[in-house]
């Protein structure tokens, strides 16, 4: 007798649609000789939109599927949406990049879609096995995407470094998972939660928990597990760097929060101190290192490390307000950083020849719109009202104050004040200085303009009218508790 497996395709429809779109792109690429990239981009965008439509029913659900391996709830809904937004914007900002030198790299979109599908499984996980498989699907696709530029030596080097450190962190994560399995007898979140609630937590379980935490800290680039970030962000194609800094980070944070809040909440006292320390180190080191950078991609890489620190404050704050603040922050950060990296890709021009901060001199004269957009994105990163970045920081900081973590907030506020310095340096270069040589004309593509427009509207809209989105974030973390 063969038992019938439990299948609920409706619940994983968004991810299925993305996989299907990836397969369609792959097939089309074989038959289309010229303009494969444009076709692939259209199909990818269509896939993202259909997936977003298929995602809507999840908002009202609160159940498990596939023998309790995945959660279908508002939390999954929120992060699926976030992943789709970042995938869609990344597709738009990448198009011109892939047609340079007549490359026609349509495979880029295939991997981007598969990576997004992997992320969706990861954020919905109710079992450490799903976290692991989703994480690896996403990681393997991203390793390749980082090294996809055939002529760039930096790109291959970045892929190599990311792969080695990523695989190493996966091994640490897995060993931790093995030790947890030995303690709890199963790696499903309900079983883990039961084990941690029962109170008799073995020392082996603590070590396992610590190693799982280190694995996640690698993925979200928290200090001292951040060493790969600047090199990988510098070497990867700029639009993809944007995707890594928001999409991958959001998915990793989603799983991080899900694992620790849904299954290890009773042991909170033990992990919260570690995360406190990680948050403080990450904010201080990320912001200080960003100040001395001359390359804008490296600067934004350290800035993204610093933002991981602010997000970790949300985890420390706990309750429902902390994670809710993180969700809003991630939404704001998605629009902001993808916009900023879109500008970096645009100003970088062919082969990313202009990625130094000095290359931004006088941008306001030649391209006032672009300079204004970049300034708004940088303001949002620095957390200046009325942008979304300000509301995000404010929410997380107030959640932490309410939970009694005053010192952490003090560090957060001081380091954000320091961060204003390096963000403003770019703004000053754009508005106050003149370039030494006349740079080549920028090539705007319609897709890039659309992406920058969406990002700009997003940053300002959810910054000026944050109430709805804050409520949405609060609603989405409910299933965790």
């Amino acid at each position: 007798m063969i038992p019938i497996p439990e299948v609920n395709l409706g619940g994983i429809l968004p991810a299925l649609v993305l996989c299907l779109a990836g397969l369609v792109v792959m097939m089309l690429g074989l038959f289309i000789r010229r303009g494969a990239v444009a076709t692939a981009a259209v199909v990818s965008i269509a896939g993202v939109l259909i997936a977003a439509a298929a995602n809507t029913p999840l908002r009202m659900m609160d159940k498990q599927a596939f023998a309790g391996l995945i959660n279908l709830d508002a939390y999954t809904w929120f992060f699926n949406l976030l992943i789709l937004i970042s995938a869609g914007l990344t597709v738009l900002t990448s198009v011109r990049y892939l047609t340079d030198d007549g490359l026609d790299m349509y495979e880029y979109f295939v991997l981007l879609l598969f990576a997004s599908a992997g992320m969706m499984f990861m954020v919905s996980a109710n079992h450490l096995l799903i976290v692991f498989v989703g994480l690896e699907t996403l990681s393997i696709a991203i390793y390749v995407l980082v090294g996809i530029l055939p002529s760039s030596k930096k790109s291959k080097e970045a892929a190599l470094k990311y792969l080695l450190l990523g695989a190493f962190s996966s091994a640490v994560f897995l060993y931790g998972a093995a030790l947890l399995y030995g303690s709890a007898g199963s790696l499903g979140f309900p079983e883990l939660a039961k084990y941690f609630k029962a109170g008799q937590i073995s020392r082996m379980a603590y070590v396992g928990m610590g190693m799982v935490l280190v694995g996640f800290a690698f993925k979200v680039a928290a200090v001292p597990f951040h060493m790969w970030t600047p090199d990988v962000y510098e070497g990867a194609p700029a639009p993809l760097t944007g995707f890594m800094s928001v999409g991958v980070k959001a998915a990793a944070f989603a799983a991080f929060v899900r694992v620790f809040f849904q299954s290890m909440l009773p042991a909170q006292m033990n992990w919260i101190e570690i995360i406190w320390l990680l948050a403080a180190l990450t904010m201080v080191l990320g912001n200080l290192a960003a100040i001395v950078q001359d390359n804008i991609k490296r600067m934004l890489a350290y800035s993204s490390i610093a933002h991981a620190g602010y997000l970790l404050i949300g985890m420390v704050a706990g309750k429902e307000a902390g994670p809710a603040g993180m969700l809003y922050y991630l939404l704001a950060y998605t629009f902001t950083n993808l916009g900023a990296f879109g500008v970096v890709a645009l100003v970088g021009r062919k082969g990313e020849a202009n990625v130094m901060i000095d290359d931004y001199r006088g941008l306001a004269k030649t391209n006032p719109f672009l300079a204004l957009a970049m300034s708004i994105f940088l303001f949002s990163l620095a957390g200046i009202p009325p942008t979304a970045g300000f509301v995000g920081k404010f929410t997380i900081f107030s959640a932490a104050i309410n939970a009694g973590y005053i010192w952490l907030v003090v560090i957060g506020v001081l380091t954000s004040a320091a961060s204003v310095f390096y963000y403003f340096r770019v703004v000053m270069k754009m508005y106050m200085e003149v370039p030494e040589t006349q740079p080549a004309e920028l090539q705007f593509s319609p897709a890039m303009l659309l992406a920058l427009g969406i990002a700009l509207v997003g940053v300002l809209y959810i910054g000026v009218f944050p109430t709805n989105y804050l409520n949405l974030a609060a609603l989405s973390v409910k299933p965790l508790f």
């Binding site: 023998a67 799903i130 090294g147 007898g185 082996m204």
Partner: protein, 166 residues
């Protein structure tokens, strides 16, 4: 008898693992790695996981290590002797951390009391392979399907990376 086999297999595995890490010709590293794989496959079978043991032999010792050999031949690394010298100061920090981890792990692992049925499931009607097959295609159907996406991404990626573009 079980003890004898265990000590034999673990001695072989450990010595070859040391060879993998410290030998200086890539070809020797790969050959030692194959011995490690075979030793581990033996240990898996000793632990009543026959199916995993066989997969270990076929997939790891067979396919994966042949891939390593293939790349070594492709890159002409078979004749070189690699220098053994520590990289930098922080390498030693890393190595120190790893050894410290081992020191921390030992007493903790010593204290582990296996819960559940300490003996392997006796009197079961199904073989190990049957149980794995049933679980894999029912309870763990979803990860099984995600793995197919993962493998497809790896195939596409490998082709892109290794392809020569003119």
């Amino acid at each position: 008898m079980e003890s004898l086999i265990f000590y034999l297999l673990s001695a072989v595995t450990l010595i070859s693992a040391v060879f993998v890490v410290f030998l200086r010709r890539p070809m020797h590293n790969v050959l030692s790695m194959i011995v490690v794989m075979i030793g581990l496959a033996g240990l898996f079978i000793l632990l009543n996981a026959e199916f995993i043991g066989m997969v270990q032999l076929v997939v790891y010792a067979g396919a994966v290590m042949v891939l390593f050999l293939f790349v070594i031949m492709l890159l002409n690394l078979d004749q070189i002797r690699l220098p053994i010298d520590p990289r930098e100061g922080r390498t030693w920090i890393g190595v120190g951390t790893a050894l410290a981890l081992l020191l921390v792990l030992f007493p903790i692992l010593r204290a582990v009391i296996p819960s559940g049925t300490s003996a392997p499931e006796t009197g079961q009607t199904m073989s190990n392979t049957q149980i794995i097959a049933r679980e894999l295609f029912t309870t763990y159907l979803l990860p099984f399907e995600i793995a197919s996406v993962l493998l497809l991404a790896a195939i596409v990626g490998t082709v892109i990376l290794a392809k020569k573009r003119s």
